[in-house]
Symmetry: C3
Subunit: 88 residues, 3 copies
Amino acid sequence: MKMLIAIVRDADLDKVLKKLLSENFRVTRIASSGGFFRNGNATLMLGVTEKRVDEALHIIEENCAPSLDLAVKHATVFVLDVDRFEQF
Amino acid sequence: MKMLIAIVRDADLDKVLKKLLSENFRVTRIASSGGFFRNGNATLMLGVTEKRVDEALHIIEENCAPSLDLAVKHATVFVLDVDRFEQF
Amino acid sequence: MKMLIAIVRDADLDKVLKKLLSENFRVTRIASSGGFFRNGNATLMLGVTEKRVDEALHIIEENCAPSLDLAVKHATVFVLDVDRFEQF
Ligand SMILES: Nc1ncnc2c1ncn2[C@@H]1O[C@@H]2COP(=O)(O)O[C@H]3[C@@H](O)[C@H](n4cnc5c(N)ncnc54)O[C@@H]3COP(=O)(O)O[C@H]2[C@H]1O
Ligand SMILES: Nc1ncnc2c1ncn2[C@@H]1O[C@@H]2COP(=O)(O)O[C@H]3[C@@H](O)[C@H](n4cnc5c(N)ncnc54)O[C@@H]3COP(=O)(O)O[C@H]2[C@H]1O
Ligand SMILES: Nc1ncnc2c1ncn2[C@@H]1O[C@@H]2COP(=O)(O)O[C@H]3[C@@H](O)[C@H](n4cnc5c(N)ncnc54)O[C@@H]3COP(=O)(O)O[C@H]2[C@H]1O
């Protein structure tokens, strides 16, 4: 199990979320904002089996529109290792 | 040190939090919502010494009520490894 | 790449954020609150190259004022290992 933490722009959130869920990914949304621009963005947390990490990354990349400001990326994603995953 | 990230339903939050704190766990609450139902849930972040991980998991399991909807679990918990822990 | 998760008091947030950004760190702010006092605090998430972890920790330590309540630390910081970092 890996944990994906993806920071996407608010404008792209609905499209990314819809596609991830329709592909049977589980997603928790965390309220966040950028440190620099201070406006809202969206942080998505996904627990994903290791073999589906690339698929999730591809969905995020495909569903985030390019920004008008060339310095701003479409999405920033961290992949962390999960020691244990439990659901009760 | 391990980090527990537990996603629990809003209805169970107070009971889980009270029990964790009374057992001397430290907890930070993060505002979150489910990707699918879109309603609020609660994400708890706990830095826990390795030997108390099972105890924390047990408290979370014991204090979350079963859901009426069988597909929905009581709680979803990720355990991540912590490289370094600092308090100033 | 490492991920720093720093819990600081609301009162210290602006000073810490300003210094981190001026030193070219990237920061995402996550809405959070303490489990015990229940009032707001600020959780900062930073993806940082391994060789700049100590520098980021030093900035956080230097820019958080001591609390009147001796039991309360200025800041609590977790450093987690990042498997992969992607920006699209
Ligand atoms: N210290 C600094 N000096 C100069 N320019 C700076 C800067 N910090 C940010 N920027 C610029 O401003 C854009 C928005 O940053 P913000 O912090 O609001 O929003 C950021 C932040 O919330 C998050 N992010 C990006 N890299 C991160 C990292 N390494 N760690 C944590 N969060 C990150 O993704 C959002 C978009 O980042 P992106 O890189 O595409 O776009 C960034 C970048 O082009
Ligand atoms: N691997 C994971 N990574 C990140 N977060 C996770 C996760 N597994 C669970 N969660 C979090 O826990 C909440 C409850 O999940 P549960 O699996 O019990 O209950 C879920 C599940 O029974 C169903 N569900 C969620 N996503 C689905 C999907 N893509 N397709 C079909 N059913 C879905 O709807 C219920 C509520 O989902 P919701 O998203 O509102 O809320 C989820 C989500 O916030
Ligand atoms: N291992 C950990 N995992 C996750 N988050 C952590 C953490 N250690 C600290 N934090 C976060 O940092 C805030 C300040 O913690 P500190 O230990 O300085 O200061 C704490 C501590 O002196 C005391 N405290 C917290 N939990 C306690 C407990 N279960 N029993 C007795 N005192 C507690 O109350 C102060 C405020 O706590 P609060 O929960 O409002 O807010 C906490 C919590 O949000």
